[in-house]
Amino acid sequence: MDKSLKKIRDWFYDRTGFDEFLAFLKKKEVPCHSYTIWYYMGGAILILFLFQCITGIMLLLYYKPTIETAHKSVIGIMNDVPLGWIIRSFHRWSAYFMIAFVFIHLFSTLILKAYRKPREVTWITGCLLFITTLAFGFTGYLLPWDELSLAATKVGTDIPRSIPIVGEWITKLLRGGDDVTGDTLTRFFALHVCVLPLFILAILGIHFILIQKHGMSIPISIQRKKNSLRKIPFYPNFFYRELIFWMLIFGIVITLSLLFPATLGKEADLMAPTPKGVKPEWYFLFFFQTLKLFPSRILFIPGDTFAILLILIFGIIFFLLPFIDRKPHGRSGKIITYLTYVFLIYVIIMTIWGYLS
């Protein structure tokens, strides 16, 4: 290396301690086995989150969050801003992929039982990240302020109303009033660009620290094998492999963004009736379809309240799974794995059904 370049590098290492960080990455090892592919999911989510941040900041330069200007500013982004439609499409497609990879990461963690001792807190932070990602999707959907997004937000923010005692309050808090108005748009905008990013960064930091502390989880079936497990250094061996995966993701997302750009519906009208056949985004379809299955009354309880309570109980069980599945090696652990498969199939079937119905 050139002497002057070496001097700059040494100065940089001396002042920042970056060489110690690199040494740490070289020392960090990643287990190599037939399930290693699932280790790439976390990195994929991270790179997609980075894409979201970059394109989100670009959109933020032109977006105006009021009911008079929101829709017009999105039209402006699509028609007047140079490459604006590509940036918007890329933002939407990378969001779809991010949510899809979050689902994959969640289900792979569930099936491989990566939540087992000592990774209970890692699982809880992962669940929080999952909820935050969905919240990003929900709040971002309203921002273009078209008739479909308004109607979907009306339906979505109406769901918590069924929760006993606090339901009405949650709906009012989300909407900033009794109905979806300009206040809701302002709230969703603030949540989407400020509150949720700060929250996700904080939780992501804890999630990373915990992964560094406990290392990558090794599946039970691999752990049982007596022969020694092959490991590779994180940097450069695993990192280069991850780079290939990231580039493929980038290629697919940019291709889809260019060939199937994000469209925009008619401007939302607060006085207009709700259009027929309103559906949420694909990642909420299984939830939406489940709610539709319940009758109007079950025993003495209204059907929607019963459904919401059931889903809440299921969510709490899901959240506390590492504390419930105390013997992942045993019979109960196997039953939980089978239930996970059933749940995965249920989510897929309900999503397809919700889309086609």
Binding site: I75, P236, L259, G265, W282
Partner: protein, 98 residues
């Protein structure tokens, strides 16, 4: 046998995810007629044949760059693995000698 089961699982999950992501396109079969749809949606597609061609050229260029970079990375991975295995072998040999 176990590896085959794993591969099947991976394939099933990948197909499921692709179905979820590509659902918007499947749904296009049950969409209202094109004229009706156009009046409702603002589509930011390229305006003329020149822009359309530019997009396809750009996609080709992007994929060419990605494939070249992947090729370089595969070479780098092979080298990194070789160096790591060499160190590992040396460590094992040294242990045996002791």
């Amino acid at each position: 046998m176990g590896i085959f089961i794993v591969k099947y699982r991976i394939i099933i999950i990948i197909i499921a995810v692709l179905i979820l992501i590509l659902l918007p396109f499947f749904n296009s079969f049950s969409q209202p007629p094109q004229n009706e749809k156009e009046s409702k949606e603002i589509k930011p597609s390229p305006k003329n044949i020149r822009e359309k061609t530019a997009i396809f050229v750009y996609i080709l260029w992007i994929w060419l760059i990605i494939l070249i970079l992947i090729y370089i990375l595969i070479l780098k991975i092979k080298e990194a693995d070789r160096v790591y295995n060499m160190k590992f072998d040396t460590k094992v040999k040294n242990k045996n000698q002791v």
